[in-house]
Every structure is written in structure tokens, then in C-alpha cells.
């Protein structure tokens, strides 16, 4: 992993954002991998992994709610921070900047719908059994 490239290096296990924090930034993974972790009543669940060129942390920018999950480095990872203010100002001038963001969020909603469907099917099968 080049020391001269963009962003900042997070070591294995280092927290990039913590669930419940106020969100002022988005993040783009430059190199390596992070895990998105959701904590409920003391139990951690890794929701998914994210890798190179993925934009993360955008939900808190748009819905102004606390972070819904923790982003944690899985191995050594390089991450670029994007400023909320710069991003929203640019969207104001160029709404098409949001195309890719909407595309990403749509894909995630689709993936989540799929997972909900699978979980319900599993639960239904268990109930029948």
C-alpha cells in the first residue's frame, strides 16, 4: 500500500466511524477492505464488507441521523474523507453528482430487500418445521 497516495491509513481493527456518532463526512475506500458492523444489545453483526472505490457513510449526510453502523478497518486500509459541506454545495451546482450516490443507495436497498426476503423464507421454513 503506497504511503504517498490519497487518504489516510487505518490499521487493522481501527474504527473509521462509530455507530451512533454524528455524521459530517463520507468516505471512499482507496485501498484495502473495511467491514460494516451493526451493534444491537451488545451483539455485533458484520453486515457486509466494502472494498476499493466504494463510497460509505452517505446515509448520515442525507438523513441527518446518527451513524447507523460502525465502519472498521479489516486489515490495513486507506480511506479518503469527503466533506459534507463541499459535497452538498457541489450537488447544488451539479445535481448529476448525486446520480452515482442514488445508484449506490438503490443497489444497497435491493441487496437488503433480498436479504429480508431470504431471512423471512428461512424463518417461515423453521416455523413450518
Amino acid at each position: 500500500m503506497s504511503e504517498g497516495a490519497l487518504g489516510r491509513i487505518y490499521e487493522d481493527g481501527e474504527i473509521v466511524v462509530r455507530q451512533g456518532d454524528v455524521g459530517e463526512h463520507m468516505y471512499v475506500v482507496q485501498d484495502g477492505q473495511v467491514e460494516i458492523v451493526r451493534e444491537e444489545e451488545g451483539t455485533e453483526t458484520v453486515i457486509r464488507l466494502a472494498g476499493r472505490n466504494e463510497v460509505l457513510g452517505e446515509m448520515a449526510i442525507f438523513d441527518r441521523q446518527p451513524r447507523s453502523a460502525t465502519i472498521r478497518a479489516r486489515g490495513r486500509v486507506r480511506i479518503l474523507t469527503l466533506d459534507k459541506r463541499n459535497f452538498l454545495r457541489r450537488i447544488n451546482e451539479d445535481p448529476s453528482l448525486a446520480f452515482r450516490m442514488i445508484e449506490t443507495m438503490s443497489r444497497r436497498v435491493r441487496d437488503l430487500s433480498q436479504q429480508v426476503s431470504e431471512l423471512r423464507a428461512t424463518a417461515a421454513a423453521r416455523d413450518v418445521g
Binding site: A5, D31, V55, L80, M101
Partner: protein, 470 residues
């Protein structure tokens, strides 16, 4: 509405000009403006199921070292552009970014100050636009321009490796002619040649209201130091100089992988001014002790656009990047991005008529032009600081106080945005007038005056220790 017997719209008033399936677009120039335009045009067209053919006319080979692949530029990708590209899916890998920049060091004859990014991360990219300086035999990096061009080609654009020799009009459509070829009509011609070319003169002769922009010359030199030497001397900071050297307006040293790029702006810039700057003690203090300013790897004196074109569009023709409207002195690649994207957006969603560009492309150009007008005042203040020792001392004292006392970084932020080109000049100028900042000036002034009087007897050239405040 057009009736069968309506007269054909006069050239320049083709209000119904839109791109449809099979439309052909010519992009003259495959630098950042042309490549980004092609990338965004094809990306947006795909979103609305529009099939377009895009030809990029670019005879240069960006992977080749030296002038054949160079686009003659300092090679800084600003903080805001890095972020915008990331959101737009244009990924700048560590092969492209030769050095991430996490700080600016401002050097004056009365001291130096380091302004680091609050997030302690590499926020700015130093890149080689082409294959690198003349003495490179094998590039260890990927050219920035080639990287963007490859992204456009990846979406379906085609490269035409020929120089455009002539442009014309045929039945209301622009035509392009290359050597040994016949004029070929296109539905849209996008001019992204930069200003260091003679083809722009041809467009003035087309009667479409285009007039070439006002230009100034810059001096760019590349010095080979090797990565280890750069790590030890310049590090990951861009070094900016406010020196009272006649004719010099702005100077910077940009560290890259193995090279350092020297960028100068000024009046009647020439080699002598470059030598005067390179020989200044403040520059020698930053560079390694055994550095010889006469041993340069490459040098050029390219022009830059300092007064945007008033009407950078016509019916089925649009001028982007430096050929049209660019940002004053800073972030030319950022302006290329903004104008390229605005032109692509207009072409896909609004049409390619003069009226469409006037309504949807021109506002972005106007915003850059009016911001440049404010920028001129901001640079006047910089010039005053360059020539006034008291002001230079005040700037250093306030910045030092902000960093040592943990004050909100008002002046540090202004200097960061001014040098990095990360914020509009209007925004920077407003912040310069901030009463709290003025109060800080008053607060530090007794110390500055005392220091000026105490050191007043020292000649300008007298040696002093290099003081860096972090």
C-alpha cells in the same frame, strides 16, 4: 414548432438541435477536459438509453515521457476535485497520484509556516500529466491524462490519433478535417484543446462569436531529486513562496514521486526569473543542500487562460477547459472538470443548440468568470503581502497563533484554500473580511511591530534561520 415550409433556422439558431441515437460527437483534445467530457457524456447518455458515437481527436501519446506526452501543467489535483472525482466514480490510484499532499508550507523572507489538513490525511494529489519529464526512460507511474482518457475509452469513446487541421460548417453542422482526410460532419464539436494550440484561431474565423481568451505565460520546471531526497526535504507538503522578487507573482514547489515541479506565475516570465527564484535562499533552504538549480530535467513556458471566453459556445459547438473558461491561476483541472460536466449535462438533457448551452452551460462559466473577478482582488492582497514585510510578519504571526493557541483556523483556512484552489475566490475573499480575523490582526500587531523594529536594521538578503511553525 417547425412547419414544412418554414425557413431553415439561421446558423446559430438551431433551437431543436438535440442528440439522438446514433448522433456523432467530436472532442478535439484528449486532456482532462476532453476525457472528462467524453466520460460524463457517455455515462449520462447510457442512463437515458441514448447511443452516441464519440471520437476524441488526440495525436499525443500521454504515456510517452517528455513533450510528446506532456500537457504542460503543474499537476495538482485540488482537494475539492479529488472528492468530486471520487463521488463520480473516477478513481485515482496510487499509480496515478505520485504524492499525496497533506500540508502547505508558506515561505517568506521573514519565516515559514506549515498549514496541515485538519483530518491529517492526503487530500491533494500531485500527478504527472504525461509520461514524465524528458529524462525519464521508463515511467514508474501512470499518466494522469492517460488515466482519464482510458476511463473515457472504457465507456466506448474512440480515439482518433490525428491532429485536427481545419474546422468548418456544412448544412448547419460543424465539420472536422484531419491531414489527408475530407471534412467530416458531426452533431456536436467539443473544443478541449487548451490554449497552447493554433486551432483556436480557426474557430475565430467561423463567425460563431468565439474569441480566444486572454493569456499569460507560466514557467514550469522539473527537477529530479529521487524519492528519498524528496521525503527528507520537501516531504508531503506543497511549498508556496511569497518572495519579493521583481515580476514574480506566485511560486510553488510541488513534490512528486522522484521529481519536484517548480511552478511560477508572473509578469513577462522567462528563464531569468526562474533562475532568480531558484537561487533565492528561501528556495535553497527547502531543497536538498547539494541541489543544483541548473540541472533541470525539463522546462516549458506554457500559456494559461486568465480571462475566460465571453461566449464559449455556439450552435453545436462548445469550448471547455482552458479553451473556454478556466479558474484564475489555480485549479485549472478543476475548472476543466466543471465545464466538461456542465457541457455533457447540457448536451444529453437539454440539447446542443446555442440556446441550450446559453441556458444550461453558460451559468457555470459565468460563475467561474465572476469568481475570477473577485479572485483578482484576492491576488492583489497577496501581492501587497509579497511586497510588505509588516504584512508578511502579521500573516505568519496570526497563523502561528491559530495553530499554537488552538484558535479556529480562519487565516490558515484562507491560506489553505487560496493555495490549494479548493474554495471559490468569493468565499475566500468574504472570509478575508471577517471581523474576527481583523481583530486577530490587531491582537498580533504590537508583537509584529516590535519584531519589525527590532529586526529593521537587517538587510533583506541577510541570512536567518528557517523557522517552521507546525
Amino acid at each position: 414548432m417547425t412547419f414544412p415550409n418554414s425557413p431553415r433556422p439561421a446558423d446559430g439558431c438551431d433551437g431543436d438541435a438535440v442528440l439522438t441515437d446514433g448522433s456523432r460527437v467530436a472532442v478535439i483534445g484528449g486532456g482532462p477536459a476532453g476525457s472528462l467530457f467524453s466520460y460524463f457524456l457517455l455515462d449520462m447518455a447510457d442512463r437515458v438509453d441514448l447511443q452516441l458515437g464519440v471520437d476524441i481527436f488526440e495525436p499525443r501519446l500521454f504515456a510517452k515521457p517528455g513533450p510528446v506526452g506532456c500537457n504542460m501543467c503543474g499537476g495538482i489535483v485540488s482537494e475539492s476535485l479529488v472528492q468530486n472525482l471520487a463521488v463520480d466514480g473516477v478513481f485515482l490510484s496510487s499509480d496515478v497520484v505520485q504524492r499525496g499532499i497533506d500540508a502547505y508550507e508558506l515561505h517568506t523572507d521573514v519565516g515559514s509556516v506549515r498549514i496541515a489538513t485538519p483530518t491529517e490525511e492526503m487530500r491533494i494529489g500531485a500527478v504527472h500529466r504525461g509520461g514524465g519529464p524528458r529524462d525519464v526512460t521508463e515511467a514508474k507511474w501512470e499518466s494522469f491524462d492517460k488515466h482519464l482518457l482510458d476511463d473515457a475509452l472504457g465507456l466506448g469513446a474512440k480515439i482518433v490519433p490525428s491532429r485536427v487541421e481545419a474546422v468548418g460548417r456544412e448544412h448547419g453542422r460543424p465539420t472536422i478535417k484531419v491531414a489527408k482526410g475530407s471534412p467530416v460532419p458531426y452533431d456536436l464539436v467539443v473544443v478541449a484543446t487548451g490554449v497552447n494550440t493554433s486551432i483556436l484561431k480557426t474557430f475565430e474565423g467561423l463567425g460563431i462569436g468565439y474569441q480566444r481568451p486572454a493569456l499569460t505565460k507560466t514557467l514550469i520546471r522539473e527537477y529530479y531529486l529521487g524519492a528519498d531526497q524528496i521525503n527528507r526535504s520537501l516531504g508531503t507538503s506543497m511549498h508556496v513562496f511569497l518572495l519579493n522578487i521583481p515580476r514574480l507573482e506566485f511560486a510553488a514547489l510541488i513534490p512528486k514521486g522522484d521529481y519536484v515541479t517548480m511552478c511560477l506565475l508572473g509578469e513577462d516570465i522567462d528563464n531569468a526569473l526562474g533562475d532568480a527564484f531558484a537561487g533565492a535562499k528561501e528556495v535553497r533552504a527547502v531543497m536538498p543542500p547539494d541541489w543544483d538549480p541548473q540541472v533541470k530535467s525539463c522546462q516549458c513556458l506554457p500559456h494559461i487562460n486568465i480571462h475566460g471566453v465571453e461566449k464559449p459556445y455556439a450552435n453545436r459547438v462548445v469550448f471547455i477547459g482552458d479553451s473556454g473558461v478556466s479558474r484564475l491561476y489555480k485549479d485549472g483541472i478543476g475548472a476543466a472538470y466543471r465545464t466538461a460536466k456542465a457541457a455533457a449535462r447540457t448536451a444529453v438533457f437539454e440539447g446542443v443548440s446555442e440556446a441550450a448551452f446559453a441556458g444550461h452551460f453558460e451559468p457555470v462559466c459565468r460563475s467561474i468568470r465572476s469568481d475570477n473577478r473577485v479572485g483578482r482582488y484576492a491576488f492583489v492582497l497577496t501581492r501587497v503581502a509579497q511586497r510588505t514585510s509588516l504584512m508578511r510578519r502579521a500573516i505568519l504571526a496570526i497563523t502561528r497563533a491559530e495553530q499554537e493557541r488552538g484558535w479556529r483556523p480562519r487565516l490558515s483556512g484562507i491560506l489553505w484554500d487560496m493555495f490549494s484552489g479548493s474554495a471559490p475566490y468569493g468565499d475566500i475573499f468574504r472570509r478575508m473580511m471577517d471581523p474576527v480575523l481583523i481583530a486577530r490582526g490587531v491582537f498580533v500587531m504590537p508583537g509584529v511591530l516590535f519584531s519589525t523594529i527590532r529586526r529593521g536594521g537587517r538587510a533583506a538578503g541577510e541570512p536567518r534561520s528557517r523557522e517552521v511553525i507546525t
